[in-house]
Symmetry: C2
Subunit: 344 residues, 2 copies
């Protein structure tokens, strides 16, 4: 067991390798540049001496923990797992590690969970308003400035970040273009009765998605969507679709609040209601997760690009760490329609 | 911005709340018991004074970081995301946070990544042998004893942990029973030519799954499986299935190395090859991930219970922290068949 050996100091490594103390620090930071041979030599000597930089000690001096907290209700939802995966890779390349915090199943975070999170002293925290409000998070976080994913409402197209309240940064997702393209395609193929299978009712993402769909449909002369209540899950969308046709009057097109919901919609249409997609009912999703190209679904969906999203989040983290007291920062992303086999 | 306020100490909080210094510590640890009113009072005063326990400082004194590293190649694979989700919830309840480390796409970890991981000083690390070997991990970890998920080979049924090498703990997954039940069911419905759509070739999980299938089939008087090479992904299994029928001589039953592979197999059979499941070809998967009950798949699969798995991992972590120099620890889990609609 190596744990019983005594730890060496950075100075001891620097002396033995005949390099500066700074070079030793750089060798352990994956995002600094250093000649490969020099890095290899330092790491070899560090290993021989059983030296490792202690981030706990460094954090006390530098005030940085190199930890980025990500608050999610559900790691195993497809959208979130793909986000966490890409974000972990990108953060690792910048020398940060991803620290996961799970909210409760009702999406809330209580005081204990917030105090617990603060104890890890993260450098940054990525959150959604439905999980924890900026005013609550600011109260319990020390120096970290949180980043919120924000869905501007119809007409606002982003707009300036509110001043006054606690400091936080924003990733704005503009849903208008992708949703307009989806509605235009449905109209182009003759859809008249469009239903919306919703996400969790009080989620901001769901509220703004529904409001945007409603506004786009009105602009294009369509009646408002028939709303079938889901909760972003496969099972709820499956059941909502059956109710829509067995209790309600059905629809000739369904817009689901997310792709996983769209899969539930399609399976209910095909396997329970005996309807064909897209011949009898057209289906559109939102997200473009990896599963959407699977042949059983082959889903037409509004894409919110994962790589762009992660790059924007990492930029916000690095900009904020460079300027801790800068005014609110923003990054803005567009959406667009990816056409596959469920409309046509 | 609250970050500019000065931090209070635990002593200041204890004095104001008229409680002991120990009670203040306990209030911030979700898994210690404390009267709810007392906890609420302490947390309220801590908030007023802007006090938070600093884990970095505590880690220097206690030698514990309260961080558990999880090394994964792919957070967004279904199996791993469900594992991370359940594990994060369970660890959070015990006062630990989950720190994610991603291996490279070839499943390897290089020296830089290992040194980087060590820098966070995790209390425990959960790993797979295909990602990083115990001898390598022991060299770079300080005091943490890693936990490996282990698939004993046919006949061994677990067996004692090797002595001699570096200290590590083990979660043994016994695949025999579930695989035997699957083969018996396929035989019972008349399958003669069974194919195995594999995982990543050099993965231990894949090797032992294939060896177990081979051994069970031989015991039951069946010829060896036809092997179609996959890599645990939907796309590779999809293509392997098409090759199996278009280049090879096909099969009347397919055992996939994991559920996601089984979805690729089914979509290739139905949507590319025009075959019916289960009438023309029967399909069995491995894992029982959440998607396996979706109506488009409704997969018969060998279950490796998620809740049991997470409970066993958490037990190993807590047992090891209680006794850092105990001999190798083990937990052992069984598998069983979950029968749905793809065999019959």
């Amino acid at each position: 067991m190596t744990g019983t050996r005594q730890r060496a100091t950075a100075e001891m490594v620097a002396r033995r390798a005949n390099v500066s103390r700074v070079a030793v620090s750089r060798a352990f930071n994956p995002h600094t540049s250093l000649k490969p041979e020099k890095r290899a030599l330092i790491l070899k000597i560090a290993e021989e001496l059983n030296y490792t930089p202690d981030r706990a000690a460094r954090a006390l001096v530098s005030g940085r923990s190199h930890l980025v907290g990500v608050i999610v209700p559900d790691v195993c939802s497809h959208w979130e797992s793909q986000e966490i995966d890409a974000l972990t890779t990108a953060l690792q390349n910048e020398g940060f590690a991803t620290l996961l915090f799970k909210t409760r199943t009702d999406y809330s975070m209580d005081e204990r969970l917030l105090a617990y999170m603060r104890g890890f002293n993260p450098d940054s925290v990525i959150a959604f308003v439905e999980n924890v409000k900026p005013t609550t998070l600011a109260r319990v976080l020390g120096r970290a400035v949180p980043i919120y994913v924000h869905y501007p409402h119809p007409g606002s197209h982003g707009g300036p970040v509110d001043s006054g309240g606690p400091l936080y940064d924003r990733l704005n997702v503009l849903q208008h273009d992708g949703i307009e393209q989806a509605v235009a395609l449905l109209q182009g193929y003759g859809a008249q009765r469009i239903a919306y299978v919703s996400g969790v009712a009080r989620s901001r993402a769901n509220e703004s998605r529904e409001a945007m769909l409603r506004s786009v449909m009105a602009e294009r002369g369509l009646p408002p969507p028939i709303v079938a209540p889901g909760d972003f899950s496969y099972d709820a969308a499956f059941n909502a679709t059956i109710d829509l046709f067995r209790i309600g009057k059905g629809a000739d097109a369904i817009f689901a609040a997310n792709d996983v919901g769209a899969f539930g919609v399609m399976d209910a249409l095909r396997h329970e209601l005996g309807l064909r997609v897209p011949e009898d009912v057209k289906v559109v999703g939102f997200d473009d997760i990896a599963q959407s190209h699977w042949k059983s679904y082959n889903l037409t969906t509004v894409k919110f690009d994962l790589d762009e999203r992660v790059r924007a989040l990492v930029r916000l983290i690095l900009r904020r760490l460079a300027e801790p007291s800068a005014p609110p920062l923003e990054e803005t992303l567009q959406t667009r329609l990816v056409v596959r086999g469920t409309v046509g």
